[in-house]
Structures are given as structure tokens and as C-alpha cells.
């Protein structure tokens, strides 16, 4: 342990060498989950207090992590390493860098909000509910902080369980169908991802393509494994195949077209907290996977797949937006808008330049904030009316003016109005993609027109007009608790929109490092000496009958 921590040049020395801060961050919610389970069923207030306490302390701990974070380097920080299953090279290895720090903060912040927003929304089996939420938080944080593929995979899979229960037990509508669909669909992808991981692992364990060591250490793998780029199967190289395996895992999670259909069902039928976490954090695990693993581990395949990925992303953007426009259920509309936004995000990542990737990463945060906020707002309506049917609402701007303001700001943040957070990411993505491929950028720009159309239409149908039905005339406006949990998100929307500097600074070294590393690798692989020799020998054969002196 000491050896890795002290000698790996990809790690920044731990500030004090002992405090397992990241472990605390990951497992404090789990502790809370267990604590909630032993609280008697009748002690609802205590249960909620414990849940709030755990999420708040976790958030504070993540702020401590931020204050100890050195934003000037791409290296992994606050690392913890313990050997776990030495025979196959599995370790308990955690660390944080510019890519994950913001996602961790987003997760811990959203976790507080979803606990608070559930106070009045959940009626049955509250004990199990809060316990699931906290358990879920542990899973999500583990995914972002794990630096060992094995550990990563465990967190990735374990997180499905609480989410499955959240949808299946406390959901609405066809909740069982949606829960099972979510679980099986994601699991289906994960299995391919596991295959990809194992392939990488075994490539590294051979001396030819890696160090010959058995290790699941993600950074070691990134630094050492070189997956061959020669075509081996219908024109695809080993890199391409592993890329596709990981792609299935991540793309289903994102979700990218055409693997998105679990999302509208899961979103619509989940309780508010479930939808918020799903949109805010779970989807980001897919994009995080692409940036963290696919790009650096498979640079040439990533380059080869730009057209494929961008096409799916653009279809997602336009198709998601158009289908969103046809929805009659608010949550389903927002769910499809997510498909569209996540397409943007993927487009940025596969611009494969610092501008696009930065845009993609900041957009992960932005989408978490904006779409999370949208689901919270729909939750507020649902608690009052038990319906999300757009047609059931009208003229709410008069009845619930505060809500209308929050909804408007969130909507404009979601459609990327400059000055609010969404624009920063969207613009960087478009600038990045424009350099890579003008046509893709031009097509994607159409998405921002459609985005405005479906959101403004939703707003018009629900908020504007006259409040005709008695329910619409007497709806209660947001209370202090609701304003309280919406306010942090709205502040973030303005903050990131007007002064994104601290956020961009945090991720800059990491993103730059990842992109440069990938570009260099790709360049090296294109001219890899092995292939060069083979090419040369091939040329020799072709030139064999030419007299030697002519050459």
C-alpha cells in the first residue's frame, strides 16, 4: 500500500497520509442507511433527521475534500489504497481528480435535496425508503471515486438495487414494469462492460500489450495497456471491439439513442427523488465512463468511432427533442428532453478536443442541476395534484407565481439561455464539435431551436392562459421547504452561467491531460512500429521482382 501511495507518479501525496476522507464520504451514507433501518417505524422525524444529517455531513465532507483539492494538477488526489484480493490484482483504491470532484459534489448536494423533497411525498415504508436513498448515494459516490475496475464494477452494479426498489415500491403507474426494465436493461449493458474490462485486464497481463501484471488499477491500465489496433473481426480491431463492449454498458446508462427507452419509463414511474437522482447522477455515470475509460484506454477506437458516436448523439438530440414535443405527461417530456441533452453531452465528448470535452464535463454538472431542478418542480406539482398530465394545468402563473418564476428560470437554464449554466456547456460543445466536424455541429445546432420549442410550449400550456378549473385556481404556492431546496440549484444556475471560472479551473488540467494523452496515444498507435515493419515487409513482397538497384 505504502509503495503505491508513495511511488506512483500519478498520485498526489495525501495531505496527511492517514485520513481516509474518501472512504468516509462513500460509506457515511451507508452507515446512515443501516442506522435508519434500526430506528423504530414510528419515529418518522428521527428517521428523516438521520437521513438529512447523513447527507449534509457527506456534503460537508465533500467540501472538505474540495478544500484539500489541488486544482492545478491532473493527478489523482486524496488517494487510498489497500490490497484486497492480491491473487488477481484487486485493490480497494480510491482517488479523486478534476473529472470526478465536481460529480462528487453534485451527487452529495443532490442527495440532500432529494431527501428533503421526499418529506411529504412518501407515505409507505418510509424506513426502507430513506435507507434506499442513502444506500444509493454510497453506490453513486463509489462509482465516481473508485480507481480499481473491480471496485468500480461492484459499485456500478450495487447501485441498481436501491434504484430498483425506489422505482418498484414507491413509484407510480407501471412501476414494476419500469423497475424491471431499468434493472435488466442496465444489467444487460453492464455484462458487456464487464467483458470489456476483463479484456483490458487480460491484455495488460500479457507482456506484449501491457506490463504483464495482474491488476485492475484503472490508472495503471490507462498508463500501460496498449490494445492492438489491427483488424481482427469484420474489419474491427481489438480496440474497436472493446470500445463497443464498453459502449453498450455506458450508452445504455447515458442513454444514447436507440438504447434510451428505459429512461422515459423509469423517469415517469419513479418517485420524484428517484427521477432527480436518475437524471442528475445516474446518467452521468455513462458519460463519465466514456471520458474516464473509453477515451484514454482506447484512443484509436475513439477516433474511429467519432462518426458513429456523433451520429447517434445527433439523432438523440433531434429525435429526443421532437418526441419530447409530443408528450402529454410532464415527466415523460422532461425525460425525452434528457435524451436530447445527453446527446449534446456525448457530442462534446466525442469532439475529442479540450473545448468539446470541457463542454461535455461541465454539461454533466449543468444537466444534473437543470434537469434535477425540473423533476423537483414537477414533483412539487404532483404532490399537490396527483397528476402530471399537461392538459390538467393552465394559468398557474397567476395562482402560483413563485413556482412560475422558479420554473421559468429552470426552463431557461435547461434550454441554454446565455447567462445561465446550460449555455456555457452547450457553447463549448458546439465550438469543440465545429472544429472536429462542421456538419455535425450544424445539425446539432438545430437541437437548440427544438429545445426552445418544446420547453416554451410546455410552459405556455401549464403556466399561461387562465386558470380554468377550481384545482388550478386554488393550488398552493411553494412553501419555505420547497423554496429552500430549489434555491441552491437556482443559485448554481446563475453562478455557473456568469462565473464558471472556478468550475472550469478545477477540471482544466485533468481534461487537458486526458485529451493530450489520448491524442498522443492515437498518433503513436497510428505509426506503431510493429505495423510499420509489417507494412514494410508487405512492400518488400510487392517489390520483390523489381531489381534491387532500382529501389
Amino acid at each position: 500500500m505504502e509503495y503505491i501511495l508513495a511511488h506512483a507518479d500519478y498520485l498526489l501525496p495525501h495531505p496527511d497520509g492517514v485520513t481516509p476522507l474518501l472512504t468516509f464520504i462513500i460509506f457515511l451514507p451507508l452507515l446512515g442507511a443501516l442506522a435508519t433501518l434500526v430506528i423504530p417505524k414510528t419515529e418518522l422525524r428521527l428517521m428523516k433527521a438521520v437521513a438529512v444529517f447523513c447527507t449534509v455531513v457527506t456534503f460537508l465532507l465533500s467540501l472538505v475534500a474540495l478544500s484539500n483539492f489541488d486544482g492545478s494538477t491532473h493527478k489523482m488526489q486524496l488517494a487510498e489504497y489497500h490490497s484486497w484480493i492480491p491473487s488477481i490484482g484487486v485493490a480497494y483504491f480510491l482517488g479523486v481528480d478534476g473529472l470526478s470532484i465536481l460529480l462528487v459534489l453534485l451527487t452529495t448536494l443532490l442527495s440532500i435535496l432529494v431527501v428533503v423533497c421526499s418529506f411529504n411525498a412518501i407515505h409507505g415504508m418510509q424506513k426502507a425508503y430513506y435507507s434506499c436513498l442513502l444506500f444509493l448515494e454510497t453506490g453513486m459516490l463509489g462509482v465516481f471515486l473508485a480507481l480499481d475496475f473491480f471496485l468500480f464494477y461492484i459499485f456500478w452494479e450495487i447501485m441498481l438495487v436501491p434504484m430498483y426498489f425506489l422505482i418498484g415500491i414507491w413509484g407510480h403507474g407501471r412501476k414494476l414494469y419500469s423497475a424491471i426494465k431499468f434493472f435488466l436493461y442496465t444489467l444487460f449493458g453492464s455484462v458487456f462492460m464487464l467483458l470489456g474490462i476483463l479484456a483490458l485486464y487480460s491484455f495488460n497481463s500479457t507482456g506484449d500489450y501491457g506490463t504483464g501484471e495482474l491488476t485492475f488499477n484503472i490508472i495503471e491500465l490507462i498508463n500501460n495497456v496498449r490494445v492492438p489496433t489491427e483488424p481482427i473481426f469484420v474489419g474491427l480491431s481489438s480496440q474497436d471491439l472493446i470500445f463497443l463492449a464498453l459502449f453498450l454498458g455506458f450508452a445504455i446508462k447515458v442513454p444514447m439513442f436507440p438504447f434510451h427507452t428505459w429512461l422515459p419509463d423509469a423517469h415517469t414511474d419513479a418517485p420524484t427523488a428517484g427521477s432527480v437522482v436518475l437524471a442528475g447522477v445516474l446518467l452521468k455515470m455513462g458519460t463519465y465512463g466514456f471520458v474516464r475509460f473509453s477515451l484514454p484506454l482506447l484512443p484509436t477506437a475513439s477516433h474511429n468511432m467519432v462518426g458513429f458516436m456523433a451520429t447517434l448523439a445527433i439523432i438523440g438530440i433531434l429525435y429526443g427533442a421532437l418526441v419530447a414535443m409530443a408528450q402529454r405527461d410532464m415527466k415523460r417530456l422532461i425525460a425525452y428532453s434528457s435524451v436530447s441533452h445527453m446527446g449534446f453531452l456525448m457530442l462534446g465528448i466525442f469532439a475529442l478536443n479540450p473545448e468539446g470535452v470541457t463542454g461535455g464535463v461541465i454539461q454533466m454538472i449543468n444537466h444534473g442541476i437543470s434537469t434535477g431542478a425540473l423533476f423537483l418542480l414537477v414533483g412539487i406539482i404532483y404532490e399537490r395534484r396527483y397528476t402530471r398530465e399537461i392538459a390538467a394545468f393552465s394559468g398557474l402563473a397567476t395562482t402560483v407565481p413563485i413556482f412560475a418564476v422558479f420554473f421559468a428560470i429552470t426552463m431557461f437554464s435547461s434550454i441554454g439561455l446565455p447567462g445561465l449554466n446550460g449555455f456555457v456547456g452547450e457553447f463549448l460543445i458546439l465550438v469543440g464539435m465545429f472544429k472536429t466536424n462542421v456538419a455535425y455541429a450544424t445539425l446539432a445546432v438545430l437541437g437548440i431551436i427544438l429545445g426552445a420549442a418544446y420547453m416554451l410550449w410546455l410552459y405556455q400550456r401549464t403556466m399561461f392562459g387562465e386558470a380554468t378549473t377550481p384545482e388550478n385556481q386554488t393550488m398552493k404556492d411553494m412553501n419555505f421547504r420547497e423554496i429552500g431546496y430549489m434555491l441552491p440549484l437556482v443559485i448554481l444556475m446563475f453562478w455557473i452561467g456568469l462565473y464558471p471560472r472556478p468550475y472550469l479551473n478545477l477540471m482544466r488540467p485533468t481534461v487537458d491531460h486526458y485529451v493530450t494523452q489520448m491524442q498522443e496515444r492515437h498518433a503513436a498507435e497510428r505509426y506503431d512500429p510493429q505495423r510499420a515493419t509489417r507494412q514494410a515487409s508487405h512492400d518488400d513482397e510487392a517489390d520483390a521482382d523489381v531489381p534491387a538497384e532500382d529501389r
Binding site: 428505459w262 439561455l417 438545430l446 426552445a452
Partner: protein, 657 residues
């Protein structure tokens, strides 16, 4: 000075925040203290800043705050800049803005959403000021979208009305189409010049680092943005509908300031446009056609605000025509004079509507001169100004544009412009005559026209003065007046073409021609609406098709609805069924297949696999049942079997051997 520059947009922003938080509960009908006060202070700051620029126009004021967005090689600052071009816009925005705020105190008095109105209006001021003060394209785009947002909010201010919220939505979406072009233009500018700051971009353009092809692409994309914001063909359709908003909003946003943002952007980017002759032609052509097209629609409209709306579209066309033929400064000059007289016309129309108890149809007006003399006088001055009768403001700027067109050899654009000028004069005097002259066509029992309060009339008077003298003071001699000399400082470093000098030939005859045409329009309007009010009706019957076409605005809205809006709506539904049936169908099909397979394997498992196991058991069981018969337990039987066995083996042994 840096602080002062930043204060200009921040002051209204603070008012937005306070009004937004306190307006509904605390301030209520006192919301205008904050609203008007903040804009007044901003105007003061602006005047000081403008004075500084007038004193030393060579050195723009730069006020950078911090790096705003950056990634990889991309970087854009949060920075403002005031040069002579921004100073002109600053004057127009703050000046007209302040007057409209004052006017709104009277106009919006008593509206239940009074604080909300000032919140939006101040937010608009902030956005518009950011737009004109930004020192780079991206920050300009923030203002650009910000004003679009405010336009959306203010058009739909009375959101209970379906038509109002529809119009707001339409404005935002149509503008977004333009914005898409703007965004792509910015991406292209960045990858060509490595920056989005005006200073760097224009320096690169000046050093000819941008090829003609790239410059053409950039400028055309930018112009798509301008077409959206400044309501040019084919994206003008939102502006007439925008009249659903309260009238002060129409004056400020949809006449004087926001809609001229596109012109400002083109003038600002002239270094790029000058590299792209094709784009210049496109700008001039679109401008000229729009000028004529919109003017022709305005001829027959009967809603007082709609006439003014189409007039605005038409005048914006003039501004682009000016830019397109290379007379950027003349285009900007027209922005300024237009802000004065069109702002005044809208505010006057508001006063009329106010007097008529929210009546907007000119067919139910007439003879109002007697009742609202103050409004009539100021509006008449503005009408003379827009018609282009010297020495009023509109004459100087419009004449410069037309003169530049013909002198640059653009005969077709010039002819179109002249035709539009004739129509302008006609429809404007038609408006005046139908509204204020002739007999009273309203029911005196129901409507008692009354003059507006001083808070509404004073702004009218100030704008009237500006409409009269605003052109003559800074516009003489044409193309080389104070205005031109001042604005030229913003472009001196990249070689604006040599200053034009005024010559008797052809300038004076051209001026005379303009004047004659304007008076011709006036005379025709007199013939039609004063001398014989039945004449237009007869003409409309005679040329029913032309009349209907104009009245229905060439059926452009219907065209868009049929060929764009409906197909998109249809495709959303179609795609949704594809999503549910095909894309999700595959997933569910996969699930169903798995279940089916599972059932089959269940059957196979029970009958084949398990069957085999059970079969083995059964065989053994029945076999053992047979064998059980042997186990009798009687020793004699065993002995017998043994003896028999021995006998059999012995026999075999003997035979084989």
C-alpha cells in the same frame, strides 16, 4: 471610468433583483421608483461615459472583469468596451429607454402586475446594455438572447390571453433560428481567428488573415442571426405578432432598440463584411426587399400598432440596405433617428389607444385631433420625420442610404428603396388621417377620448424635439456630418473607405427626388383619406385579389404553418409512435422473447431434462422390482441357483476349450 461602465448595466439588474423579490408584496404600485430610478441613474452614468468618448474618441474605454469561459485554446472575457459606435447605441438605449420607463408609469398605472412589468423592463435594459457594451461576440450574444428573453416575457405580459402567449413563444422560437446562425458564426470566427474579442477579430480581418470564402460564411451566418433579431425576410414574422405586448414595450423593444440589434451587429462587424462582397449583396438585397415588402403590407392594415410594426420591419430593411451598400454609418444613423421617431409613434399610438379605451382599430377612430391635441402634434412631427420630408430627422438618414445605393451603382436596390419610401409616406399619413382627421367613427356614448397624463406626454414631447432636429444637427453635410466623423473613430484602424464629401451633383437632385416622393405619398394619402374617404374602398373592390393578398400579409404565416410548423408537429407524433412501437418494441420484444424462451426451456426442462432424470429412476425402479423376485430369502433356492450357475459355467468352459 471602468466602474462607471459596469454600473450602466448593473444598476437596472439590481432593480430587477429587488423588484423581483419585493415587488409583489412590498412595493406594488411604487415599483416604478426602482424601475425608473435605476434607469435614470444608468442614463446619468451613460452620459458621463459618452462624454468621455466624445472628448477622446480615439481611445475606447475598456472594462474587463474576469475570464469568463475558457477551455483548451478557447477563452472569452467578461469585458465591456465603449467606443464611438457603442456610445451612439448607449445614448439611444439609455435615452429612449429612460423616456419609455417614464411613460410606462402612466401607461401601466393600475395594472395588477405593475411590479412585474418594471422587473421585465429593467431586465431588458440590462440585457440590451450588455449587448451594445460587450467587447466580444459571446458576451454580445448574452445580451442578444437576454433581450430575446425579455421580448418573450413582455410580449406575453398579459399571458392570460392565448394570442399574447402564442406571440411571445413565436418570437422566441423564430429568434432562436437566427441564433443558431449566430452560434455557428461564432464557432467559425473562433476557429479562424482564435478569438471572439472584437479587437482581435477585426485586427485579423484587417490583416487579411481571413479568406473571402470564410468571411462570406461568417458574415452570412451572422446575418441569419440579424435576420431573426431585426425581423428581416424570411424571419420577420414574429414582429407584427409582437404587438400583443403592452405598447411601451412595442416602442422600446420592438421599434427603438432591440430590433436594431441586428443592424448594430452588422455595423460592428463591418470589417468582416467588407471582406465578403457576396454577403454585402445579400444584406442589401434582403434589406431592400424587406423594406418594400413590409411597406406594402402596411398600406392596408387597419390596426394602428400593426401598421407601425410593418413600418418598423420596413425601416429595418432600409438600415440593412444601407449596410449592404457599404454605408454602415448611414445605417447606424438611421437606427438612431428611427429610434426617435418610431419610439415616438409607438408611444403616441399608446396614448391614442389609452384615450380610446384599448381600441386599436383605426376604422373605429377618426377626428381625434380635437380630443388629444398633444398626442396629435407630436405624432404628426414623427410622421413627417419618418416620411422623409426635410429637414426632419428621418430625411437625412434615409436619404443618405438611398444616395449611397445609387452612387454605389445598386440601381435595383435604389428603386426598391424609393418605392418603399413612397409607400412609407403614404401609409404613415394614412395612419394620421384615419386616426386624427375626418369624422369621428366611434360611439361617443361609449368612448370619451381623453388626453394622457403628463408622465406620458412629456416623453412624447422630448422625442418629438429629437425627431425634428436629431438629423439636421449631426447629419449635415450628408455622409460627412458630426455623426459620421464621430462613429468613424470606431473603425479608423481598419480603413473605412474615404469619407464622402458632399457634392451638388448628384446629391442635391437626389435629395429633391426623395422629398418629392415623400410629398407624393402625403398627397395620395390626402386624396384617399381626406378628400374622398370612399375611394380606398372602391379601389379595394376593384383590385380585390391584390387587396386581399396584402391584407393577409401575402399568406406567409399560413405558408409557414403549412410547410414548417405542421410537418414538425406531425413528425413529433409520428416519431413518438416509432419510439413506443419500434425502438421500445425491440426492447420489449427482446424481453418477450426471453420470457417465451424461458417458458419453453421450462417445458423442456420438465419433460426432457427432468424427464431423463425421472426416466432413469423409473427404469431402475422397475428393474429392481424384477430383481426383487430373486431375493426370496430361501437358502435352497440360492443353492439351486448356485448349482445351476456352476453347471452353466462348467459347460461353457468345456465347450470353448
Amino acid at each position: 471610468m471602468k466602474v462607471l461602465v459596469w454600473l450602466i448595466p448593473i444598476l437596472p439588474a439590481v432593480a430587477v433583483l429587488l423588484n423581483g423579490l419585493l415587488g409583489r408584496r412590498v412595493l406594488r404600485d411604487k415599483a416604478h421608483y426602482l424601475g425608473v430610478g435605476s434607469v435614470g441613474l444608468a442614463l446619468l452614468c451613460a452620459l458621463i461615459v459618452i462624454l468621455r468618448v466624445i472628448v477622446d474618441p480615439q481611445h475606447p474605454i475598456e472594462a474587463k472583469l474576469y475570464p469568463w469561459i475558457f477551455a483548451g485554446s478557447f477563452s472569452v472575457d467578461m469585458g465591456l468596451m465603449v467606443d464611438s459606435l457603442s456610445a451612439v447605441m448607449l445614448f439611444v438605449v439609455c435615452g429612449v429607454g429612460f423616456l419609455v420607463h417614464v411613460y410606462s408609469v402612466g401607461y401601466m398605472h393600475g395594472d395588477p402586475s405593475y411590479p412585474r412589468f418594471f422587473t421585465y423592463l429593467n431586465l431588458f435594459m440590462t440585457s440590451m446594455l450588455v449587448l451594445v457594451l460587450a467587447d466580444n461576440y459571446l458576451l454580445m450574444f448574452v445580451g442578444w438572447e437576454g433581450v430575446g428573453l425579455c421580448s418573450y416575457l413582455l410580449i406575453g405580459f398579459w399571458y392570460e390571453r392565448r394570442s399574447a402567449s402564442d406571440a411571445g413563444k413565436k418570437a422566441f422560437i423564430v429568434n432562436r433560428i437566427g441564433d443558431a446562425g449566430f452560434i455557428l458564426a461564432m464557432a467559425l470566427i473562433f476557429w479562424t481567428t482564435g478569438s471572439l474579442a472584437y479587437h482581435d477579430v477585426f485586427a485579423a480581418a484587417g490583416d487579411h488573415k481571413i479568406t473571402t470564402g470564410i468571411a462570406t460564411a461568417i458574415t452570412l451566418l451572422l446575418f441569419i442571426g440579424a435576420m431573426g433579431k431585426s425581423a428581416q425576410i424570411p424571419l420577420y414574422v414574429w414582429l407584427p405578432d409582437a404587438m400583443e405586448g403592452p405598447t411601451p414595450v412595442s416602442a422600446l423593444i420592438h421599434a427603438a432598440t432591440m430590433v436594431t440589434a441586428g443592424v448594430y451587429m452588422v455595423v460592428r462587424s463591418q470589417a468582416l463584411y467588407l471582406l465578403a462582397p457576396v454577403s454585402m449583396d445579400v444584406v442589401a438585397g434582403v434589406g431592400a426587399f424587406t423594406a418594400l415588402f413590409a411597406a406594402s403590407i402596411a398600406l392596408v392594415q387597419t390596426d394602428i400598432k400593426r401598421v407601425l410594426a410593418y413600418s418598423t420591419v420596413s425601416q429595418l430593411g432600409y438600415m440593412f440596405l444601407g449596410c449592404g451598400v457599404g454605408a454602415f454609418t448611414s445605417g447606424l444613423f438611421h437606427v438612431m433617428t428611427h429610434a426617435f421617431f418610431k419610439g415616438l409613434l409607438f408611444l403616441g399610438a399608446g396614448s391614442v389607444i389609452h384615450a380610446m379605451h384599448e381600441e386599436q382599430d383605426m376604422r373605429r377612430m377618426g377626428g381625434l385631433r380635437r380630443h388629444i391635441r398633444g398626442t396629435y402634434d407630436t405624432m404628426l412631427l414623427a410622421t413627417i420625420a419618418i416620411a422623409g420630408i426635410p429637414p426632419f430627422a428621418g430625411f437625412w438618414s434615409k436619404d443618405e442610404i438611398l444616395a449611397s445605393a445609387i452612387k454605389g451603382g445598386h440601381v435595383l436596390w435604389w428603386v426598391l428603396g424609393l418605392c418603399a419610401a413612397f409607400m412609407t409616406s403614404f401609409y404613415m399619413f394614412r395612419l394620421i388621417f384615419m386616426t386624427f382627421r375626418g369624422e369621428e367613427r366611434f360611439d361617443p356614448e361609449q368612448v370619451h377620448p381623453h388626453e394622457s397624463p403628463p408622465s406620458m406626454l412629456q416623453p412624447l414631447r422630448i422625442l418629438a424635439v429629437l425627431s425634428v432636429i436629431g438629423g439636421v444637427i449631426v447629419g449635415i453635410p450628408p455622409e460627412n456630418g458630426l455623426f459620421h466623423k464621430f462613429v468613424a473613430h470606431a473603425f479608423h484602424h481598419h480603413g473605412e473607405h474615404a469619407a464622402h464629401t458632399f457634392h451638388f451633383w448628384p446629391d442635391v437632385p437626389l435629395m429633391l427626388l426623395s422629398t418629392v416622393i415623400a410629398l407624393g405619398g402625403l398627397y395620395l394619402a390626402y386624396l384617399f383619406y381626406i378628400q374622398d374617404p370612399e375611394r380606398p374602398k372602391r379601389l379595394a373592390e376593384k383590385f380585390a385579389f391584390a387587396y386581399e393578398t396584402l391584407l393577409n400579409k401575402y399568406y406567409i404565416d399560413e405558408f409557414y404553418d403549412a410547410y414548417i410548423v405542421r410537418p414538425v408537429k406531425w413528425s413529433t407524433g409520428a416519431l413518438w409512435s416509432v419510439d413506443a412501437r419500434v425502438v421500445d418494441g425491440v426492447v420489449n420484444g427482446f424481453g418477450a422473447f426471453t420470457r417465451l424462451y424461458a417458458n419453453w426451456s421450462g417445458i423442456v426442462d420438465r419433460w426432457v431434462v427432468d424427464g431423463a432424470v425421472n426416466g432413469v429412476g423409473a427404469v431402475i425402479q422397475s428393474g429392481s422390482r424384477a430383481f426383487r423376485l430373486i431375493q426370496t430369502g430361501v437358502v435352497q433356492n440360492y443353492l439351486l441357483v448356485m448349482a445351476l450357475g456352476l453347471f452353466v459355467f462348467a459347460t461353457i468352459y468345456l465347450i470353448v476349450i
